[in-house]
């Protein structure tokens, strides 16, 4: 059988072939850089590509290996990072004009971990500005496009990461997901994406392997929980006989769900039951309140967090201001795009005197109700199966004029993040127009192994093309 082209290899295959010296990291990296060079002008999945740095990192990996040492499980394998993660000395923009010239003096924890595992950094993936968006159209550096159909959005906000992985322009990427920003684009681009810590890959086993690398306690993160990291990769091939799969009825009702998506998720369910899983119906009665809850809490917290972008220490600064307040106000007006301004305004309003309890406080209480829904569901089910996104990828520009319609793209991914539980999107079919569709699996806190087992079973049942047909 002819060997698959390099860009179609999985992360684990690429890592194994480097380890066993079937290919050098230099050759592997050069092949992917060539593909980026050829295809990314169409897809725009990278804000920054690092050909020289990646080539010299790869060469260093090869030399170390020749001396008999391997850095870690990703030794010599080229990957990309969403441009939200600080990378020391490498331009980090967060998709915003306000950071168009920012070179961080330190690495984010995840940048450190993947590097320590031996990965070669190809570049930084395009994203919605400050991760605010569901289509990667709010990037200051232009929208990314869906490699399955270049007239469509890849989803967002980790749309560049999903598009790059899907088009074979990296073996894996790391994104972020506060409301669905990994799972929704993963669904729309036909790849595997997980909210926890951010893996975006072409297979479930790759996601498990990458999570195994980046999971763990980070003492610099005050919200991080110190629990042992299990063997996720082993979990991905574990049988699902006897697994109780809950179908939350609220996710399948209502007019917003496309019939193609419903059918594909039903196939995913059939794949699970065909391997011995059982079905239970569950209810998450506060689902319809999740969107409001999220779009109050997230902008409120973002508006205070974005206060640091004031043009004083780094980033864009407006010219010619006569005083410091004018300088900050004009810097922020020039530096932030429309969606960021909208969320800063909503957030500031919701936190302002007289409104705090009515909006932010209320949303935090509804969050408790949403969390209780999941607690009740997980008393009956081991894992929940839902659509990831209500529709396949929509066209560029189709929803940009109406924020609420855009926000509805995240309706199925938001509740789980409010509850703080893990979720994964795994490809489960194609629409009549040939666009990818993802199924979402959710499990209780720290039950990622269950998720990987279920996702692995869906993947075994439904085989789809691993790389988008971007070359026509």
């Amino acid at each position: 059988m002819a060997q698959a082209p390099i860009h179609e290899w999985t992360l684990l295959e690429a890592a194994r072939k480097v380890r066993e010296k079937e290919i050098s990291s230099r050759e592997l990296t050069a092949a992917i850089l060539e593909r980026i060079d050829r295809l990314d002008p169409k897809v725009n999945s990278y804000v920054t590509v690092l050909p020289e740095r990646a080539a010299s990192q790869a060469a260093a990996c090869d030399e170390e290996q020749a001396r008999g040492s391997l850095r870690g499980p990703l030794h010599g394998v080229p990957v990309g990072l969403k441009d939200i993660f600080c990378t020391r000395g490498v331009r980090t923009t967060c998709g915003s004009r306000i950071l168009h010239n920012f070179d961080p003096p330190y690495d984010a924890a995840v940048a450190e971990t993947v590097r320590a595992a031996g990965a070669v950094l190809l570049g930084k993936h395009n994203m919605d500005e400050f991760a605010m968006g569901s289509s990667t159209e709010t990037s200051h550096f232009g929208p990314s496009r869906n490699p399955w159909d270049l007239s469509r959005i890849p989803g967002g906000s980790s749309g560049g990461t999903a598009a790059a992985v899907s088009a074979g322009m990296c073996f894996a990427g790391v994104g972020t997901d506060t409301g669905g920003s990994i799972r929704q684009p993963a669904s729309l681009c036909g790849v595997v994406g997980m909210n926890q810590a951010g893996p975006v890959t072409r297979t479930v086993a790759d996601a498990a392997a990458l999570l195994g690398v980046i999971a763990g306690y980070d003492r610099r993160d005050s919200t991080c929980v110190d629990v042992p990291v299990p063997d996720y990769l082993a979990a991905a091939s574990r049988p699902v006989a006897g697994l109780r799969v809950g179908l939350p009825k609220e996710y399948f009702e209502g007019g917003g769900l496309s019939p193609d998506v419903k059918k594909a998720v039903e196939r995913a369910l059939a794949g699970l039951t065909g391997q011995g899983a059982t079905v239970v119906e569950v209810s998450l009665p506060h689902t319809s309140f999740a969107l409001s809850t999220y779009y109050l809490i997230a902008p409120a917290e973002a508006s205070s967090n974005l206060a640091r972008y004031d043009g004083v220490r780094y980033g864009h600064r407006a010219e010619g201001a006569s005083g410091v307040v004018e300088m900050m106000s004009r810097t922020r007006a020039e530096g932030f795009g429309a969606e960021v301004k909208r969320r800063v305004m909503i957030g500031t309003y919701a936190l302002s005197a007289g409104y705090y309890e009515a909006f932010y406080g209320k949303a935090q209480k509804v969050r408790t109700l949403i969390r209780r829904d999941f607690d009740a569901a997980f008393s009956k089910a081991d894992v929940l199966l839902t659509p990831t996104a209500p529709t396949p990828a929509f066209r560029l520009g189709e929803k940009t004029g109406d924020p609420l319609t855009m926000y509805l793209s995240d309706i199925f991914t938001i509740p789980c993040n409010l509850a703080g539980i893990p979720g994964i999107s795994v490809p489960c079919g194609l629409s009549a127009e040939g666009l990818p569709i993802g199924a979402q699996l959710l499990s209780n806190h720290f039950r990622e192994e269950t998720l990987f087992s279920a996702a692995g079973a869906v993947e075994r049942a439904i085989r789809l093309p691993r790389v988008a047909p971007v070359e026509g």
């Binding site: 220490r313 007006a333 969390r371």
Partner: protein, 96 residues
């Protein structure tokens, strides 16, 4: 819930955002529509509900309050939009 032009401008001042007139009107319409949608939360009785601020409560982690100089001061300062030696230069703070 309709919010007024004045409210938009007040919030923009709090958020340190200089908004041109056309943007004030557009944001007033968009924010009013979004806040209307969010008012659906009022239908829920949450009187006895404890708010959730973190999905997994970990308590507050503490560390020793130690001074540790950052190793590479130059890498911080080179990002400065306007710099004077080891300082960030800004327009005058006290306005008329």
């Amino acid at each position: 819930m309709a919010i007024s032009r004045d409210e938009v401008m007040h919030v923009a001042r709090l958020a340190r955002l200089a908004l041109p007139d056309a943007e004030v009107d557009r944001l007033r319409d968009q924010l009013s529509a979004l806040l209307d949608y969010m008012k659906q939360l009022d239908r829920l009785d949450t009187r006895d509900v404890v708010p959730t601020s973190h999905a997994v409560e970990t308590g507050t982690p503490f560390r020793e309050d130690e001074v540790r100089p950052f190793g590479d001061r130059e890498s911080l300062l080179k990002n400065a939009p306007d710099r004077s030696g080891d300082f960030f230069r800004v327009p005058r703070i006290i306005e008329d």
